[in-house]
């Protein structure tokens, strides 16, 4: 009875804990090549993990069923060790881990270095291009570099260009374009993360951390995320959004926003001037 219960609950444990490893619950992918790579890597590790777990649980349950204490049963075998076996599983475990490390290595390069923008991207529009990448994309081409700065409890995005272009909370990016991010923080540590776009990275005061993503054309839409590093009382509300639009829409958004910002700046200057004048007359 006890054994049945044990087996049943192990099954529950398997289903629940290992359910984490079911295909339906793999990391989000489909937004960016990088996220897809993470997904693949995860699955490889997962299959290795399942095999190891099954071996451990198999041995455990086998021993429990076959070697339970029974009146008049056999004596315990006095096995103190078995050098070949011990060496075997030491080397075996090490080998599995070496293989995992090597596979990770292979993917790591791909994940770390940004690819060039696609031909259908924003590449031709030099206005948005940034060439200050530490690792320029292997195939040449240009990228859009956005400075992301976190402060309690909002994200600010600064776009390149002579005239100021920035936004808060919602980042607008063109599809088909490699977007590189310089992540900073003004007060405490924050962490930039849009799950579907992979690449979580901390914004650390005094440091500039880099990451990137690229949303293929045809995947326009809104990608949501939130700050992933505890940054104070309202950390849970520090959300972020990436709105991916076609490069054409992006250009018009940028023009519009630039004008708005300029307009707002001029309004502000006028207001200040007026107040100053009124102050003088007072």
């Amino acid at each position: 009875m006890l054994l049945a219960a044990l087996a049943a609950s192990l099954l529950v444990a398997l289903v629940v804990a290992q359910g984490a490893f079911a295909d339906a619950f793999t990391p989000e992918s489909g937004g960016s090549q990088q996220a897809d790579d993470i997904d693949t890597l995860y699955k490889i590790t997962l299959y290795v993990a399942i095999v190891i777990f099954l071996i451990v649980e198999g041995t455990l349950i086998w021993s429990l069923t076959r070697h339970r204490h029974r009146r008049g049963g056999p004596e315990a075998a006095q096995i103190r060790g078995n050098t070949p076996l011990e060496l075997g599983w030491t080397v075996g475990a090490a080998l599995i881990l070496v293989v995992l490390t090597v596979i990770t290595f292979v993917y790591l390069d791909d994940i770390k270095n940004p690819p060039p923008s696609g031909p259908d991207g924003l590449a031709s529009q030099a206005q948005f291009a940034s060439l200050d990448q530490p690792n320029p994309p292997a195939g040449g081409g240009q990228t859009l570099n956005i400075v992301v700065s976190g402060r309690q409890y909002v994200w600010r995005y600064d776009y390149p260009g002579d005239e100021p272009l920035y936004s808060f909370y919602e980042m607008v990016v063109p599809t088909g374009t490699t977007v590189t991010l310089d992540v900073k923080a003004a007060d405490v540590i924050h962490s930039w993360w849009i799950p579907k776009l992979g690449g979580k990275v901390d914004g650390v005061p005094g440091h500039v951390n880099k990451t990137w993503f690229k949303i293929p054309r045809g995947r326009e839409g809104v990608y949501r995320g939130q700050c992933a590093e505890l940054c104070g009382a309202n950390h849970a509300d520090m959300r972020a959004e990436v709105r991916a639009v076609t490069p054409e829409e992006f250009t018009s958004w940028a023009d519009r926003t630039r004008t708005d910002i300029q307009q707002a700046g001029q309004d502000l200057a006028k207001q200040r001037e007026r107040r100053l004048r009124e102050g003088e007359t007072d």
Binding site: V56, L60, I79
Partner: protein
């Protein structure tokens, strides 16, 4: 006793007086200095609380309760109380509430005190699960929620897992190695009495302005240097917990090195002794680093230094390096003693020697060494040098090898044994299952890109609880059930024990298993509110968590009821061979009337007539026996 006598004799009255006096002294110091500098306001309560309540008052309490009496007498040349061990042993329950130098009393003091903080931390977890049962905010505001998980983690780590192992080891290790007590009994008492200071401080932080410290148990700078006064309670509290644990570790090292019974070579020590030896090495080497990291924070906060101010030459990432240089080894500080307990429990209940005894000991040593080479795997997303990620990934993978060896060896110990499924054994087997899962998710976390995806999500919460609850806490339960007869002289209720196991095993998995899923799905940790898409899972998790929490009440009832009314325990109910089982339950006040002589390995269960140690008066023909790995040949009659 007159009131004046009470106030001068060591005890709670003098402790209260000392606390008050030292608080007044600290406060006066602050006010005096501010007056001299002409600062305004004169009464800066943040500074008065820091200096008076957090730093000065604890020393008043320690002196008052009587931790330093002997040393003061000795240092001032007054006659010290003779070494009659009159402070030894507990004759009534009141003896547990005063300074006592008996390792068995201290062990129980540790276990009961830490259980109190375990309950406090557990209740906070329940409150958090209530809040998280549905999206939105229902019970607590976000800042309180941040305080809850911060204090929860700090209590569980610094006031439960680490010290409860010290408690179990305090009781068991001297008996196990055939020593009359620890090497430094007075230091041992001081270590224990420092501990509640840390816990009380962490709990008290809820009552100061701005609420409890809310920066997580990791207290990352510069958040921790900017938050309200509550943070100070963590920063200083950790110092007391750390000092307590360093002093205990030193004590264990000296005790194990110098006080083993004749014949007890290192290769004849039970694996629990090995485990505590290696743990103590870790504690002594690593703990000063967290003390350092928190002193930096304290100095930045209180004295205006700039260790973590980027604009003034400080570096924020330095905090994380120093912090994790302790806090990764801390995971093994919380794990290795449990490994030792599991080896004892499995071998005894499978009636077999531990498979690969020497490899088991070597792998402990390997973990100690490798444990210091992996800290930066907690910083894969923090933007440290990216080249550093690869070596850290490799060492993190490597450390799984000695851990794997241990799991395989336990399985091989079960293999063809005669398995008695008593409560401690159930917990040991549950531990193997859950720790394997925690280890596997640990390896997945070593894979840098995957780590970047799930770090700071509920996957981490799941992983840490599989390692520290399914791992450490299950070994603690196993250990407490296993040695309960020895500690109390009474048997626990086996049926309730088994019920406790099954409920906690099932609902542990139902609570923390799904957290892997929501984590991979992108739910961040340390948030009071979350997106609608995670609502179903969180409701399930919360319900399981409540049942899981309630299962602890069975344990509590079992322990209290059995301690008071349980049937008397035999000296050796499990037919174990290690020395603590060869004396009465509970052991005599001075452990041994005669120091035992060790004649063989500790796990020779299947060899007829084999013994681990002999006492002179009933010494059988002494057989020269090989070491732990070698076993003893059957004695010739």
């Amino acid at each position: 006793m007159t009131f004046a006598q009470r106030l001068t004799a060591p005890g709670w009255y003098r402790a209260a007086l000392g606390t008050a006096l030292m608080f007044a002294f600290g406060g006066a110091l602050v006010v005096g200095v501010r007056a001299l500098y002409g600062w305004d306001p004169l009464f800066n309560w943040d500074a008065i609380i820091t200096v008076g309540a957090l730093i000065a008052a604890p020393f008043g309490y320690l002196v008052g309760i009587g931790c330093f009496d002997y040393w003061f007498y000795w240092a001032s040349g007054r006659p010290t109380r003779p070494e009659d061990h009159s402070g030894h042993g507990a004759r009534s329950w009141k003896d547990y509430f005063r300074v006592n130098t008996d390792h068995k009393v201290i062990g129980i003091q540790y276990i009961v005190t830490t259980m109190f903080f375990f309950i406090a931390g557990g209740l906070m977890a329940m409150l958090m699960r209530a809040e998280l049962a549905q999206p939105g905010t229902q019970f607590v505001d976000p800042n309180t929620f941040n305080g809850l998980f911060s204090v929860h983690a700090s209590l569980m780590i610094f006031l439960f897992i680490i010290p409860v192992f010290a408690g179990i080891a305090n009781f068991v290790i001297p008996l196990m190695i055939g020593a009359p007590d620890m090497a430094f009994p007075r230091l041992n008492a001081l270590s224990f009495w420092m501990l509640p200071i840390a816990g009380v401080m962490m709990l008290a932080s809820f009552f100061v302005e701005g609420g409890a410290f809310a920066t997580g148990w990791t207290a990352y700078a510069p958040l921790s240097t900017e938050t309200p006064l509550g943070q100070q309670f963590f920063t200083v509290g950790v110092q007391f917990a750390g000092a307590s644990s360093i002093a205990t570790a030193l004590n264990f090292l000296v005790t194990i090195i110098t006080m083993r019974a004749p014949g007890m070579t290192f290769w004849r020590m039970p694996l629990l002794v090995w485990a505590n030896f290696t743990t103590s090495l870790l504690v002594v080497i690593a703990t000063p680093f967290i003390a350092g990291s928190q002193f930096f924070v304290l100095l930045d906060r209180s004295l205006g230094t700039h260790f973590f101010t980027p604009g003034a030459g400080g570096d924020v990432l330095m905090y994380q390096h120093v912090f994790w240089f302790y806090s990764h080894p801390a995971v093994y500080i919380m794990m290795l003693p449990g490994f030792g307990i599991i080896s004892e429990v499995i071998s005894t209940n499978a009636r077999k020697p531990v498979f690969g005894y020497r490899m088991m000991a070597f792998s402990l040593v390997a973990i100690v060494i490798l444990g210091f080479t992996v800290w930066a795997h907690h910083m894969f997303v923090s933007g440290m040098f990216s080249w550093l990620r690869v070596p850290m990934m490799i060492t993190t993978m490597l450390i799984a090898v000695p851990t794997g060896i241990k799991i395989f060896s336990w399985l091989a110990t079960l293999w063809r044994g005669v398995i008695h499924l008593r409560t401690p054994m159930l917990f040991a087997l549950g531990f193997i299952t859950m720790f394997t899962l925690g280890g596997i998710s640990g390896i997945m976390l070593a894979v840098v890109p995957f780590d970047i995806h799930v770090s700071d999500t509920y996957f981490i919460v799941a992983h840490i609880h599989y390692v520290l609850f399914g791992g450490s806490v299950f070994t603690i339960f196993a250990g407490i059930y296993h040695w309960f007869p020895k500690m109390t002289g009474r048997m626990y209720d086996e049926t309730l024990g088994k019920l406790h196991f099954w409920l906690s095993f099932i609902f542990f998995n139902l609570t923390f298993g799904p957290m892997h899923l929501v984590g991979i799905d992108g739910m961040p940790r340390r948030v009071a509110d979350y997106a609608e898409q995670y609502a179903t899972w969180n409701a399930i998790i919360s319900i399981s968590a409540f049942i899981f929490g309630a299962s602890f009440l069975i344990f509590l009832y079992n322990m209290i009821a059995s301690w008071r009314h349980g049937p008397a325990a035999a000296a050796n109910p499990w037919r174990a061979h290690s020395i603590e089982w060869q004396v009465s339950s509970p052991p005599p006040i001075f452990n041994f009337d005669e120091i035992p002589t060790v004649v063989g390995g500790p796990y020779e269960y299947g060899t007829p007539g084999a013994v681990h140690a002999v006492f002179k008066e009933k010494a059988p023909a002494q057989v020269p026996a090989p070491a732990g790995g070698g076993g003893a040949p059957p004695p010739t009659e």
